[in-house]
């Protein structure tokens, strides 16, 4: 279903102020969300100030904390970059969670199934397998949209549910960890695990993620491909008339965003979980949407947003341990935050 987006003629606004204004809006939204969060925390029976102190110390207060923040940030960053690119063209891939799980599944299957003779190459192959699996799952959505105008939001979401069922089946039967009491998949061999960066306790997947930032940024802003992606998002009819192959572009974007989500799953498996665990994703596919929006669909923005939300997640965990505040507060804050962000952006722009 092609969603009609009307574009009213753009009034003359000074472009130089745009980034400053966007940053201010983000800060306003953050502050408001934290205020509301404080209300939630008091409802939860804890007192806000000590809880927020845990939040801060749990996210940036120690080397360990920073490591936790970075660990949380990595999947958000990788998925977020892919979503930012796709969202630029108004291709709203909401099924990143499913692509994430399939990526982890493929990476795990490859890591477990291949003989150990591959050595360090095993990591590389399994990561690539993860990216390919996610990319394929994304391709389905893109193809359905390009060929038959099937709505991307719905199809990506339905496929996401289907993907999680596939994952559940595989870890229940073929790749089951028979020694575990609950539902748990097998562990991957040591050779397939990502080594840690000393000191912070973060795996080197962090560097993969950081490397992606300038690459995606460059693609978005300095290549004809990125130009066409942006054009497609601004005015799909004009884009088509001037020679942009919108169907192909949509497919490519879904493959990239699905592939990055799959890669994120593979990295999470190889760097953090070490085994095929049904709780591999902490709702990363959805939080990454918030990351992409907060990051204003730009690569550096997504990096900062991923760090922020990663800090929120890590701090939230600390809060739940230290102050007995349910982790769900973080989810609530995130939810409120998105709304405030939308409102702040719109009010700043004028109606």
């Amino acid at each position: 279903m092609a969603v009609a987006v009307s574009e009213v003629a753009v009034s003359r606004r000074p472009v130089w102020g745009k980034r400053a204004r966007a940053t201010i809006n983000s800060l306003v939204a953050i502050i408001l969300a934290l205020l509301v969060g404080a209300i939630f925390i008091s409802i939860a029976g804890a007192s806000p100030l000590p809880a927020y102190r845990s939040l801060v110390s749990g996210s940036v207060g120690s080397e360990f904390a920073i490591g936790q923040t970075l660990i949380q940030a990595v999947p958000l960053l990788v998925i977020g970059l892919g979503l930012a690119l796709a969202f630029r063209a108004r291709v709203y891939n909401i099924g990143a969670d499913g692509q994430f799980y399939l990526g982890a599944l493929a990476a795990g299957a490859v890591a477990i199934g291949l003989p150990g003779t591959f050595g360090p190459l095993l990591i590389v192959i399994s990561l690539i397998a993860g990216a390919l699996a996610g990319g394929f799952w994304g391709w389905i959505v893109g193809f359905l949209r390009a060929r038959w105008a099937v709505n991307v939001v719905i199809s990506s979401l339905l496929l996401s549910y289907i993907a999680t069922y596939i994952f559940t089946y595989v870890i229940r039967r073929p790749l089951r960890d028979s020694t575990a009491s609950g539902l748990l998949g097998k562990g991957i061999p040591d050779a397939a695990q990502l080594p840690l960066v000393s000191g912070f306790g973060v795996h080197i997947g962090l560097f993969i993620a950081l490397l992606l930032v300038p690459i995606v940024g460059y693609v978005m802003t300095r290549t004809p491909f990125g130009f066409r992606v942006r054009m497609l998002g601004m005015n799909p009819d004009a884009a088509q008339t001037t020679g942009v192959n919108s169907g192909r572009l949509i497919i490519v974007l879904m493959v990239i965003s699905g592939g990055l989500a799959g890669l994120a799953g593979a990295i999470q498996l190889a760097g953090v979980a070490d085994r095929l665990d049904p709780t591999l994703s902490n709702g990363y596919g959805f939080t990454a949407i918030v990351v992409a929006l907060l990051g204003r669909l730009s690569a550096t923005g997504v990096l900062l947003a991923a760090l922020f939300l990663g800090a929120l997640n890590a701090g939230g965990q600390a809060m739940s341990i230290n102050d007995d505040v349910p982790y769900a507060v973080v989810l609530a804050i995130q939810g409120v935050f998105v709304i405030f962000l939308l409102v702040a952006d719109r009010l700043a722009r004028g109606r």
Partner: protein, 322 residues
């Protein structure tokens, strides 16, 4: 794996009866969403509205032991989210797709928090669902009787709501305005209709029905609550509107298809021997989603002309250029 147990001749009527019951929450939300989209609102927040309705309904019934209160709470929660959605889409006119996604994230976060706050993780709170009614005479009709006329009270409330929405859409002055607004808001505006007002109300109706659907799901059927209890039913509702081609009657039929598939997979799960068996029951768990996707694709392939309201998703701004 005893297939006869699942789809044998004696199993069919209970299957359809269950299918109809399972379809109702989604159908209610879908009919309301259809109404909302006919006015031009692309409301992707249905999942959040259903989830909130489910939670509010559960909480309402849990603390007052009254099904009626639960239902009202559910509707109320849906309306509140409808107000939020309308504030974003109709008043501020921000990008409707994003608004919907944001609303779902908001509702998921909030309900997870409330759940964690009110119910400790050790015990699973339950409420008792209302008993099935037995409508005299009608329930005795073979096949259709047990399927349609032996459901519980919430089922009939939901059905009444759906019929009410359909009636309003096609037989009232307001419904005519709704249909005009989604197709050609400029024309509606020229006919002295307040496009924004119509869209506000349509969104509130959509929110109310989604909240009702969520409440019916939890209070009328499941009797328990958990995070993400709606499991994508709201998204299915949006899909149903598309492949019902924005006609509420087809939407209901589509919901029935989805509900029956869901009932089928539940039975298969039960008959398959559970977690330890080798039977890939996850495939059947995924079946309703697969079927929904397949039908959506089939409709997209087959559609020669577009049935989508022309102004769907586009915020209306009065043209001022001379």
């Amino acid at each position: 794996m005893n297939w006869n147990e699942v789809i044998g001749s004696s199993a069919l009527v209970p299957l359809f009866s269950s299918g109809v019951a399972l379809a109702v929450p989604t159908a209610t939300a879908a009919v309301g969403e259809c109404f909302s989209e006919r006015a031009g609102n692309l409301n992707l927040g249905v999942e959040g509205m259903m989830l909130s309705g489910a939670f509010a309904g559960f909480i309402g019934t849990y603390y007052t032991h009254s099904v009626a209160v639960g239902v009202l709470c559910g509707i109320g929660a849906g309306v509140l989210l409808g107000i939020l959605m309308a504030g974003l889409s109709v008043w501020l006119k921000t990008e409707q797709v994003i608004n919907g996604i944001a609303l779902v994230l908001f509702a998921q976060g909030l309900t997870a928090f409330v759940y964690g706050k009110l119910f400790s993780t050790s015990s699973t709170p339950t409420i008792s669902t209302p008993a099935n009614l037995h409508i005299p005479l009608l329930a005795d009709i073979p096949v259709i009787g047990p399927v349609l006329f032996k459901q519980n009270s919430l089922f009939y409330i939901a059905v009444a709501a759906m019929l009410g929405v359909i009636f309003v859409l096609y037989r009232t002055r307001f419904g005519l305005s709704v249909r005009a607004t989604g197709e050609d808001p400029a024309a509606a505006d020229a006919a002295a209709i307040s496009v924004d007002r119509v869209r506000w109300i349509a969104l509130l109706v959509g929110g109310a029905t989604a909240g009702l659907g969520g409440a019916v799901l939890v209070v009328g059927q499941l009797g328990i609550i958990q995070t993400n209890v709606t499991a994508g039913a709201g998204w299915i509702a949006v899909a149903l509107v598309i492949f019902g081609r924005w006609n509420p009657v087809y939407v209901i039929l589509g919901a029935f298809l989805f509900g029956t598939t869901d009932a089928l997979q539940l039975r298969i799960q039960a008959a398959s021997g559970g977690v330890t068996s080798g039977f890939p029951y996850e495939f059947f768990q995924a079946l309703p989603y697969l079927v929904t996707l397949a039908v959506m694709v089939a409709v997209a392939i087959g559609a020669r002309r577009t049935a989508q309201p022309a102004a769907l998703g586009a915020p209306f701004r009065k043209e001022v250029a001379g």
